[in-house]
Symmetry: C2
Subunit: 147 residues, 2 copies
Amino acid sequence: MAEAETGRGWTDPTCPVARTVDLVGDRWSLLIVRDAMEGPASFTEFRRRLGIARNILSDRLRKLVDHGVLVTSPSGGRHVYELTGAGRDLFTVVVALRQWGERHAFADGEPRSRLTDAEGRPLAELRPRGQDGAPLTAGATRVERVG
Amino acid sequence: MAEAETGRGWTDPTCPVARTVDLVGDRWSLLIVRDAMEGPASFTEFRRRLGIARNILSDRLRKLVDHGVLVTSPSGGRHVYELTGAGRDLFTVVVALRQWGERHAFADGEPRSRLTDAEGRPLAELRPRGQDGAPLTAGATRVERVG
DNA sequence: TCCAATGGTTGCATTTTGAAACCAAAGAAG
DNA sequence: CTTCTTTGGTTTCAAAATGCAACCATTGGA
């Protein structure tokens, strides 16, 4: 039943937002991807860092592999999970979630982890922009519906 | 029990990514926010567009209001839900999810909705960048852990 | 040969989800 | 003022997802 949603079963088949949520929008997948951004990791490493139940982790890793987000090398003893190109491409989503959380999910002064460049400087804030580079609010955009 | 996670109960209290996932990372909240981006909407409008169960929609709307993502005007007969500033700020997250879905969640030629500017042109692709504007991959960044 | 570590799977109880039925308030229709 | 429809829910209950604990299989030493 890991493949049950490949053909139909999408929440909203024509919406790319809904498809992404269907694939990685549960409580754990994006946190697994977040940790995988720091490098290949084993089942046990994910488990220690996330405090996730074993069977849930097993299920999520299998689904992420099925969906082409992770690959695993089934060599002896110790499996290592690593992001694919599609998985690394989720970096933008993770950063967007992180920046929103920094702005809206903490009280002033609460301790929080930070994402920086190699020299310890914070990243620029992500912002939707037009092809000309001008920032766009939601009101300045339109969804072209296909149906 | 809508407030049970305010004090503790976070999946990973110091991580802004995890906090955001705790707040809006279920199967429906981000789709509600996505639709709310197109303008204020009523309970019934959300229900028709999403095909969501009534009680789940009721619960999610209440939580999103509690979390400061939506506001509702409890005037007669018909409630209207509208994004707050924090809610509109989720636009970046929605666009990031949409762009990833466009790249990785469709087979070639499958019909899909598109997001454009007011003139029908596609948006620029979101990319994490340093303060100097240079694109950054995950490998070129670090998470400063606080614990 | 035994033993510990890794990478899981299998119950089973709890929680979340969802479909359908029910309820209440506000207009509109008569 | 009474009835009917629309809107905005709540309640109920079955099914699915979740998580804890126990168990199993393979690998690689001591």
